[in-house]
Subunit: 250 residues, 2 copies
DNA sequence: TAAATTAAGATTGTTGACAATATTATAGGA
DNA sequence: TCCTATAATATTGTCAACAATCTTAATTTA
């Protein structure tokens, strides 16, 4: 398995350093299907499972103490959410969104999230706002401590938590999926050093919500998402090179 | 099975008249997984499978000549799209969206579809426009011939075909799912006689596209979706009565 | 008669073994 | 030495039988 790195094709195989065992230090207790999905979600959000990582049934089965059939179902669900890609007779791999898909995903987010935050402004309770503020504090902390993993995860979760306040389960689900896929995109197209989602902008979003200004909040969200996209390198040429640097450069 | 109708609880059990065999006159040739899903999609779109219909594995297995395992996978995919609902140990049923879910779905459509049609206006080719016009002619015809099933299906498909022109596979997929669920909503909350999606408004949408006026198209789409929602009876009280009348009243 | 209990039947959930395919390792030839 | 062909291994796909659960029918009891 280690020898596979030597081939320098660069387009096809990467993300072989990461393995499924990274899902947790020791996972042996049998987990429910939803729990397994949630753990894989978390691993993707923290970029512990980079795009292209193979998820073999046997390994997952061991890791989670679940039968192969159950793993199979999990993989099918993840595939239907476009988090993993199923290759016939070849197994399941963490999705590698193309630059084109990335653009579609960001357009989708710019379409949906401003509407959600506008609803959230109207409906948010002081308690919910406090929760968001607490979340942002953690985010800030992780960012300053150079805790990359937590920072990435929390940054994404902020959008998911916000979406939960929009009182629309349908759009909420879409945002959750899109945030997840954005995490993959950042792994593929994000510059290594640069923070992908500045918590300062999250702070401004909260300001607008606190002020009860739906329009400002929606506009800020739009800008925020555009900024994230702009910091990526979606210019067609490379397709799977950047993240290799990322892996070795950290 | 026929005796089950006698119970008059009205909230729980309905849609027992429709059965899985309605999926096609005679389906025996073995179909691929995607084909099975597509056929069930079509049946839902034409309201041949009303909300609440049970999809038993054995019957589906026979109907499509597929093994039970394959049927199981199909049902899982449909469940992940929220077209069917899986009850543990009790089987799969065509989803019955609540009034609240219905409102969320329409809000989602009003969020997404105007953006898509705006993109479509910019990109549409004469050939694609001709296809849409042809589609609308069929729709018109079915409507005038009082061909309820085709009218319903074509009306939904119009939105799906339009979404395909938006050059955003992500949003396109969401629209497809939402249109499907809208079909279920109309089955549950739609008034029996009234047409649910006047083809005249589709015609106006095409006019705006033809004129290259993105704003007008987007606004028209917004109005159109609002009209569809307004023609439903989403006022909380009833939950599964209207469609019984629908079934018997036609 | 109606409600509750029990038994029979049908449906779903799960397991393990087997078949088909892909991947890797080995051997042979230019 | 490098490339090709072949064999061995590992992984995924499928099936059929079994277990668990729910639904329905029959039976009993108040």
């Amino acid at each position: 398995m280690t020898a596979a790195r030597k081939s320098g094709t660069a387009d096809r195989d990467d993300a072989k350093s990461a393995s499924v065992e990274d899902l947790r230090p020791n996972g042996d207790a049998k987990a429910s299907e939803a729990e397994i999905i949630e753990r894989i979600y978390a691993a993707v959000m923290e970029q512990r499972l980079p795009p292209g990582t193979k998820l073999s049934e046997a390994t997952l089965s061991e890791t989670f103490g679940a039968s192969r059939m159950r793993i199979r179902r999990v993989l099918l669900v993840l595939a239907s959410r476009e988090i993993v890609q199923l290759h016939s007779n070849r197994g399941a791999y963490i999705s590698k969104p193309s630059a084109s898909e990335a653009r579609s995903i960001f357009e989708a987010r710019r379409t949906i999230e401003p509407v959600i935050i506008r609803n959230a402004v109207e409906r948010v309770t002081p308690a919910e706002l406090a929760t968001l503020e607490k979340h942002m504090a953690e985010e800030h902390k992780a960012h300053h401590q150079r805790n990359r993993r937590d920072a990435i995860r929390l940054s994404g979760e902020f959008h998911v938590k916000l979406a939960a306040l929009g009182d629309n389960p349908v759009l909420e689900r879409y945002v959750k999926e899109l945030v997840m896929r954005t995490s993959l995109i950042i792994g593929l197209f994000g510059a290594p050093g640069i923070p992908n989602c500045s918590d300062h902008e999250h702070s401004e979003l909260l300001d607008a919500i606190r002020a009860g200004d739906g329009n400002a909040a929606a506009e800020m969200m739009m800008r925020h998402l555009s900024h994230i996209e702009e910091e990526l390198e979606l210019t067609g040429s490379h397709s799977g090179k950047v993240n290799i640097k990322d892996i070795f450069g950290s």
